[in-house]
Symmetry: C2
Subunit: 108 residues, 2 copies
DNA sequence: CTGACACTTGCATATTATGCCAAATATGCA
DNA sequence: TGCATATTTGGCATAATATGCAAGTGTCAG
């Protein structure tokens, strides 16, 4: 692992990290259905305005969403929709785990 | 967002979180080429044995890798290879960002 | 049984993340 | 201009992560 490779993996990990939070992942998936303004997220989720705003800033910083200010509102849009394509694989992991846990429970 | 949905997103995020670390992501990709024992990773990376071991434990806990103890050694194997399929999309995000940053620099 | 090897776990510490409150900014309306 | 709405920023308390070191566990060779 040379320095350049380290940087690459650090960059890739930071993109994943941006998605690796329930709130941000949910918001990203919501954006797959079209742009949304911050206020819409605030309505849908029981969090402070500032909390939502900071989460969106993380997604933006990671290059996952892009921003469009229109009037008083700020709209966020999914910039790289392909990121959500692999969610079915993530779900496969969870289901596989669920099975194992279920199987383990059988033995108790 | 009801409770069940919250749980689902928490679970999905935790799988992503396991991959969202340069060291773990690199190890996961290495495992795509076949199983490896902990000692091989220790040789390849400049980290303490215990650090590597803990990272692998995180991947295991997330359901991404599986373990096979053989003799004195412990081998780790990729359990869900599809997770790495979307890495090209992650790289696309990075490249897109790189372009924007390059474009921004033009204006200075 | 003893010692060596390959890990894993517990502990301490440093860094980073999360979420709220309050303050700052930006925009449009009266 | 002054005020309300929409959003971002700064600050702070708390929680979670990352890492190394030291100590513990399990396995094999002699």
């Amino acid at each position: 692992m040379n320095e350049q490779e380290k940087m690459l993996y650090k960059a890739k990990a930071s993109v994943l990290k941006a998605l690796a939070h329930p709130t941000r992942l949910w918001m990203a998936e919501q954006l797959a259905g079209g742009e949304k303004c911050v206020c819409e997220f605030v309505e849908m989720m029981d969090f402070d305005f500032s909390t939502i705003s900071k989460h969106l800033a993380v997604l933006k910083q990671a290059g996952i969403v892009e921003v469009d200010k229109r009037g008083k509102q700020v709209f966020y849009r999914l910039k790289v929709p392909c990121l959500l394509n692999f969610m079915n694989c993530v779900e496969a992991v969870i289901k596989a785990q669920g099975k194992e846990q279920a199987a383990l429970l059988q033995h108790l």
